[in-house]
Each structure stands twice: as C-alpha cells, then as structure tokens.
Symmetry: C2
Subunit: 202 residues, 2 copies
Amino acid sequence: MLPNAKIVPIRDQIADQLRSDIISGELAPGDKLNEQALATRFGVSRGPIRDVILRLTKEGLLVTRNNVGASVAEMLSAELQQLMIDLRRRIESHAFRMVISKLNEEDFEALDYILAQFSEAFYEENYTEVTKADIEFHKYLMDRAGGADLVNLWYPIVMRMRMNYKRIGTPQDGVREHQAIIDALRAKDTRGALKALKANIR
Amino acid sequence: MLPNAKIVPIRDQIADQLRSDIISGELAPGDKLNEQALATRFGVSRGPIRDVILRLTKEGLLVTRNNVGASVAEMLSAELQQLMIDLRRRIESHAFRMVISKLNEEDFEALDYILAQFSEAFYEENYTEVTKADIEFHKYLMDRAGGADLVNLWYPIVMRMRMNYKRIGTPQDGVREHQAIIDALRAKDTRGALKALKANIR
DNA sequence: TGATTGTACATTGTTGACAACTGGTCTAGG
DNA sequence: CCTAGACCAGTTGTCAACAATGTACAATCA
C-alpha cells in the first residue's frame, strides 16, 4: 500500500486555519467574525464558512448570537480552567490504560514522527506549528484508544485549554516530556506513562 | 419583568426534535438521515437541516462521512460509557461546589417547576418528556454554575450517556432523587448534595 | 439637553439551482 | 462464470440571490 497523500476537504482546512488564528492569538477574544469577509479570504462562498463557524462554536472557540454573528470566545475563569485540566488528565489517563497494551511498532513510529515535527517547529520558533504537533501527538493516542467517540469528547476540552495559554512560549521541556511519554509507553510502563502524562498536562 | 415567552429559533426546534427521536430510540443506531427528507418533513430547505446535522454530529449523536451523509451513532463501549459517567459526575460535582452558595429562592422555584414537569411526564409515562425534564434540571444548575462555557462542555457527555439508556423505564425513584438534590442544595448542605448527585447519575 | 422613535445600512438566515461525488448496476471481454 | 470498466441514479457539497433581522445614527419631542 502506497502512503498516498490523504485528501483534506476545504472545509477542514478553513477550520484548521481559523483554529490556528485563535490559538495563536491572531484573533483575540471578543473579535467579531464576518462571514462575507471570511468567504472572500478563503475564496469560497458563505455556505462552507457557516459550517466552519458552527463547528468552532461547538468546540467552544467561538460564541454565536442569533442574527448577530460569531465572535471569539472569552478566556475561561481560573475555576473552569482548572476543571478543564483535571478532566483532560482523567480522559487521557483513562485512554492510556486502554491503549498501552495494544500499541505496536507502527504506532511508535508515527509518534516519533510527530515528535520530530514538534521538535523542528520548536527550533524554528513556529509556535503555531508546535501547538498543532502537540495536539496531534495526544490526538493520535486518543484515537488509538477510543476512536472517534473519545476524540470528539476530548477535542473541545483541549482546544479550550490551549486558547487560554497566553504565554505562547512552550518551555523547552516540551520535547523531553513527550519523549518520556513515548519511552514509558514503549516499555509498557503504565505507571511511568501516567506520571509523564500528568507532568505534561498543565 | 414579565416572564415573557421566549422565542425559539426553528433550527433549535428541529435539533430538539431529532435529539428526542434519537434518545427515544425512534431513530436507531446506524439509521441513515436524508437531508432532503428531513427538509420536507420540517418544511424548510436543506440549509438549516445541514446546520442541525452538523450540530448533532458535534454532540456525538450522529456520525458524518464526507459525501455520504449522516447516520445515528453506535452505542458506546462499556469502557467509554463508564468514563462518561465518571466525567459527568466530576463536572456536576464541581459545579455544585461553585453554585451552592449563590442559589437563591428564585432558582429553587425554577428547579421545583422543572421537577413538577418531570413528575407529570413520568405519571403520563411520556418518557421522552421525562428525559428532557431530567436534562433540563441538571442543565439549569450547570448554567447557573459556569454559564455557557460549562454547559457546552457538559452537554455532549450527557447526550451520549442518554443515548445508551436502553431500558427507557426510569426507576420510580427519579423524582425522589431530584427532590433530595434540591433539599440538600436549599439547606446549603454540600456534602448531602454531592451524595444525592452521585446517586442520581448512573 | 436627554431620551425616544424612525430610518438606512450592514449582516445574518434561508432558499432553490447547480456541481461533484458515491455506490450500485449493467455490459463487454476474458 | 467471473472480473473490469463505464454508466446512472441518488445524495451531498457549493454557490449566488433574496428575505429577515439587528445595529447605529439621525431626527424629533418633552
């Protein structure tokens, strides 16, 4: 089987772009999104744009009012932010326990590859890409553990957490933390993996 | 301020209807949804229908494949179902602690009213309405505790849980359980409220 | 002067037609 | 009889025009 480049729907690309804009701070909380403007920017009609806006609204990145439009969501209260972190830890811990026994060499290759991208983006100081690789890393494991159901549950929480990272400078330990997770998973060391995970999510 | 009847957008009504259909089992897992058919059924064009489908997909009730369409999601594995219950308990517990000090008499009147609807629906054996009232009860408290942010996080989890209740017959204790929650909240008895909550979510 | 009503503009919500894609069926060739 | 390819019906994806709603500003009146 050839590693055929997978085709990505326009709609998904637009969603990705807007997510990046929000997480990177390009779009600040409270900023209003104009459907027509976005349609022009991406060279499509308003239909797909509405889809994307609806999607991001459901992910909690945007807030929409009837007949008024969408704007970037405000930051979470410290209280809710803490709850998000707690929930994310629980979900990923659960996933680790489910997945650790069925990870094979192919999986580790994929994880290594993602981590390499993470590292590369980090040294290029491209923090938007760093964030995407970071999310991709965890997402891979979530998908492997519980499939689309689990990812759908997990994704909005991560997005909402990420949005609130005002200091974009990820500590240099990012790579090391993820490497520690991979190592522990490879060694089937559940305890170590959970510990490394807990250190990574904060 | 008069208790003005709130106006509900068509889109929301359609979403509600489909959610009911799914939770009640009218639409079984795997059933395919046809946009045109739904549009005709609700007397609107396909646009709003697509919105609704996208929304329910994000809530986890439907699964959508590109260029193929949407169908009702399959039941969760026992593993994930257990995770959902755990997460929901944590979220609502957290919310209780946040909200218990700021609940006033007006809130309790609202909760009493919802519980009355619950009870009525129960004795009429209208379990779809029972479920809706049940959700409404908890939703009221979630909204009061953490606003839209918290509700958006919580809602998909509840929906996904509800979908998997195959035995639709809620035990007769439903009313009692919710009454116990109200009583404990009224007495500012955090410990008792959390206990009653834990008994109710399962 | 301050609040209120009327009006124009900008933006979202909705629609129906058209384009692109999927899955299955039929046919020709081996 | 079986497979490969082309075709076809049905469905989803996209678009541009139209209708409905909300917001902001200006004119009016107390």
